[in-house]
Symmetry: C2
Subunit: 633 residues, 2 copies
């Protein structure tokens, strides 16, 4: 038996077999429905409102993930509700896949739960004239008998204790942080609701994850642009702004806290989780983001020798930072290695297991700043390099964020004919990071530019002179979304990419030479970072962003900073591991390294002035002899 | 050789021998100059501005107690500066003895210093490219080498760390709380400046003490009326107000915190101590005052069985409570025994050493609520009784606070002639607490009233009928300050005193009977409380406030709640002792005790309906047979 499912408001229809989930109908009908957990039920993102029709009974996941008032109004999870008749549903906006592709997910190795937060349900006797013990005493004595000794009571909890205990008829649930402090008291049994927040503060992007602390499942994930961008696109200009005075520092802190709160509030609204039950928040970011988030006086971070203000892991009460989780909850700041290698790098290592690998591995977290780590389970060397925002589509003439219509794949054929793919296969609006990498690599391979980056192609309809320099027309305006402007890659764009990739490679080579690891032992390359998933590894290699390496030994892990933050949220062991990593890592300050200068200049060539390092790449570049006939001599 | 000292602005002159302190000249000349430490220099209260003349060089105490900017302007301590020529000085207002006698001092047994706060001076190496460790790491590693391990860094300290460390050229002083947390970092060596605040929150009076934590000396002491009085004179009406809603509770908390801040700010201004260097605040009060100060939901405190919300000692960050000390400083709340026996009673016991006494002792802290404690080193029983504000001069027709012009001593002769003494020997304005006790006791002894409290005197110029009841004219209006109103004690006044003293005695007898201590073993009576110093013990005994006991076994300790708070501020051992006392004390809830009812009624008589308990007193009362000829039958 088959039934029809109709999706409102767009009115799309889809017919599926009985006992298939609504999600199957959505997929079939081309309805855009969020789905993080692959239909297992725990992400709770695919919530829809049932207008009419017959479906299977509510599952446990639905009872857990849909707030009671929504359950009462007929909301279901599309992955859980099985079709048993013709159905009409409405898809709320927040259940749709966002149009802007802000990559916030990353690979996360399995981690055994060892939360910092415990919930304990207590049934107590009410005070009587024969037992008029104080409320705190009554609770602490029972907890002590259960093995929870010497607990502190958070101030806000103590203030509310008498009221809550009575509201619950002395049946209450106590939340204990780190086996040392009561941070929440609630009426009734709420032991099944315990959540935490992981935050990845990138220079450009901000990602927030809500995790169920009882099973470790991700229940909410979302990202926005870091709202601090209005104080400057790069780290240095934000540090400069913050250094102008106490008020500036406060403002820049308030801005990032506000951004996090915006996402947390969205998560609370979407999932129906109570803010009171968000007990911990683990934040990572590079050292500057970490400091500006915490409101740490950061002037010295911008001055040689660029020491971090706070390097160790720190725990702060949520209310002290104005974060919209439980005000008595804990904010855990992961350790920083140095002024420009921060908690995000530690999180990258945790998630990539670099510190457990036997073979020598290069790990790069590509972003506005790129952290470069080289090592294995014996030792890890690190540095940070200002690769700039070019890879994120900024400072590029036709650059744009990775959103609908952005060119993300490019191939240039023997006669310079261009094939390309845009995000969502819409008409082209511009070029995103992965597109510009492909574009420049293809320009190099096809002979539009030479290894110094100079545009050597001439006398071709796709090349035109502009002031300054030339530009290569990727897509003629007739094919674009606007219909008015060509999509081009300019000489300046190529220079931006050269500088960015030279910084990355220079960082890698400095580590290699200073550490006395052996180049021939390098066995794997791991690229992390919010946009890493979409880079073509061959293009990256062609440009010389990374050393030459068989493609099967280059992997992309996505936003591992967020993964590491989630791991530390779920596991105290991961936090200890993070600190051990931070303590053991060797940091190199590139700003004063002559080796870096030298390698940076070598790497301004594509792939490198030391061509012998890139035999395969060189073979490809030199292949298209055809270019010669267009080249002006 | 003798020299003249002139005191401005009043222009009083005084001549003293060379090498005598200015204080000696002030005493001789009748200049009113504050002096808490008896001229030892450490209270710093007697600061004067030297206009001209020759004095001895500055002493260490002067350098320690007078802020640098005042030192530069010629301020001196009158007890330290020795006269070496004719001198002219100006006495600032804050150096004068306050006119209102708000008794805030109490007996304080010596206590060995064991502060919760330590200051450590560090000289660190600045970061270099070869040693770019983070600022926190740099500091914590040196502290760890000195034996301070696993320190937390308070959030505000962490934020300011980079700036302060550099301001001090990496020579800094770190303040450590409880060997576990850094709560202050300052540039330079400030190890000699470490202060704490002790606060006694009485229902009617509020006292604040600033103590030098390095030597235990008191450097500032002042009191005001508890500003919560506008929400009700007694505890019950304030609890009622607070129970009306969250905002009321917040308002009443803000009010008391505001009062404390007012006194702390005065202390800071008077002494030149930096607010940043007030590192701890220890507060005591009865359970209701404790809860309203901390902002604890207190509805249940007013409902049988009146359990305290928080009974245990608690530590709270100063910034969480809005107190004007170092925001990272610690507020220590002493434990409460029960709903109506609070931290102030524990402090009384600590200061009176009741828990160490071999002999059975009755300890009463007399105030709007009177805490009654009976026991010795083996065990202590306690209760609280609502004695009302009569002893503080309230609810008494001519009652007034203990200020200039208040009648404080009264004797009534054989023919009802009255002799009296006023505070500051000014013309009478009213009667204060000790005066009303004297007055009623003398009225009883002289036969103005009988043992039931009824005014039996008649046909005498000092007796007149009013509606309702009679009144006894203590002082005719011609002799008073106003010249317009007689100072009288009314029949209602007598009833107020009877009720108050009956409550106290009823509390004592209930404890005696329930505890199975033996009445014949009662060996000492200790009266504590802000006005206790001024009570005539014989009058108190005559009224039957206390059991009959030789006068040399009745002692007055003053405001021991404040003393106990100071002891706990100075010594962690005293805090442990306080908690042991609180754990061991047996509490009796009078509200449901039939024995209390019975003893209360017995004690409405003066001294008591069981006259056999007061043989000496009865002998005195019956002596003045002369009364008979005025008594109307």
């Amino acid at each position: 038996m088959k039934y029809e499912v109709k999706f409102l408001p767009e009115g799309k229809r889809s017919t599926v077999a009985e006992e298939l989930p609504l999600m199957a109908a959505a997929l079939k009908g081309g309805v855009d429905l969020a789905n993080i957990c692959s239909g297992k039920g725990y992400c709770g993102k695919c919530v829809v409102e049932v207008i009419e029709g017959q479906l299977s009974p509510l599952t446990d996941w639905e009872r857990k993930r849909i707030p009671p008032e929504r359950l009462a109004r007929g909301y279901r999870l599309a992955c859980q509700a099985l079709v048993r008749g013709h159905v009409v549903v409405r898809v709320p906006d927040q259940s749709r896949v966002g149009r802007q592709r802000l990559v916030i997910m990353g690979k996360e190795p399995p981690v055994a739960l060892k939360e910092n937060v415990e919930k304990v349900y207590l049934e107590l006797n009410a005070p009587t004239l024969h037992d008029p013990r104080a409320d705190d005493e009554r609770i602490l004595q029972v907890l002590s008998a259960k093995g929870y000794r010497n607990l502190k009571v958070d101030y806000l909890v103590g203030k509310a204790l008498p009221k809550v205990a009575r509201a619950g008829g002395w049946k209450i649930t106590v939340t204990i942080l780190g086996k040392r402090e009561i941070i929440n008291v609630q009426a009734g049994d709420t032991t099944k609701q315990s959540f935490g927040v992981a935050v990845d503060i990138g220079t450009t992007k901000l990602a927030v994850f809500i995790v169920d602390l009882l099973d470790g499942n991700l229940v909410f994930a979302d990202g926005i642009m870091n709202p601090q961008i209005r104080f400057g696109e790069d780290v240095i200009s934000r540090l400069h702004f913050a250094a102008q005075g106490e008020d500036n520092l406060k403002e820049i802190q308030r801005t990032i806290v506000g951004g996090i709160n915006e996402l947390v509030n969205k998560g609370v609204a979407d999932t129906g989780i109570k803010r009171e039950e968000l007990y911990e928040l683990v934040a990572v970011g590079n050292t500057a983001m970490h400091h500006l988030f915490a409101g740490i006086e950061s002037r010295s971070l911008g001055l040689c020798p660029y020491p971090a203000g706070l390097g160790r892991p720190h725990d702060v009460k949520a209310r002290d930072m104005g974060l919209d989780i439980n005000p008595s909850g804990n904010v855990h700041l992961l350790p920083n290695v140095a002024g420009f290698v921060g908690a995000d790098a530690i999180a990258d290592i945790l998630a990539s297991r670099l510190h457990e690998r036997e073979r020598l591995t290069l790990l790069m977290d590509v972003g506005t700043n790129t952290e470069v780590m080289l090592g294995n389970r014996d030792r890890i060397w690190s540095c940070s390099t200002a690769s700039g925002p070019a890879f994120e589509g900024a400072h590029i003439k036709c650059g744009m964020r990775a959103a609908t219509g952005a060119v993300e794949k490019i191939r240039i054929g023997p006669d310079f004919e261009v094939t390309y793919k845009t995000i969502d296969d819409e008409k082209a609006r511009g070029i995103c990071g992965s597109g510009i990498i492909d574009g420049v690599a293809e320009m190099l391979k096809s002979g539009v530019i030479d290894t110094s980056g100079r545009m050597i192609l001439d006398n071709h309809k796709r090349i035109r002179d502009r002031n300054p320099g030339k530009e290569f027309i990727l897509i003629f305006k007739e094919e674009t979304a606007s219909g008015k402007e060509d999509v081009v890659i300019t000489q300046d764009d190529v220079r931006e990419i050269q500088k960015a990739k030279a910084a990355m490679y220079g960082g890698y080579m400095t580590l290699m030479r200073k550490s006395r690891f052996k180049k021939e032992n390098l066995s794997e390359i791991v690229i992390a970072g919010a946009f890493g998933n979409y880079i073509d590894p061959e293009s990256a290699r062609t440009l010389g962003m990374i050393p030459e390496m068989p493609l099967d030994r280059i992997s992309f892990l996505g936003n591992t900073a967020g993964s590491g933050a989630r791991m530390c949220l779920k596991s105290l062991d991961a936090r200890s591991e993070a600190w051990r990593i931070a303590e053991g890592i060797k940091y190199i300050e590139l700003a004063v390294e002559a080796i870096f200068e030298e390698e940076y200049i070598n790497a301004m060539y594509m792939p490198n002035s030391r061509l012998e390092e890139y035999p395969e790449t060189v073979a490809v570049i030199r292949a298209p002899k055809v270019v010669r006939r267009y080249v002006k001599r």
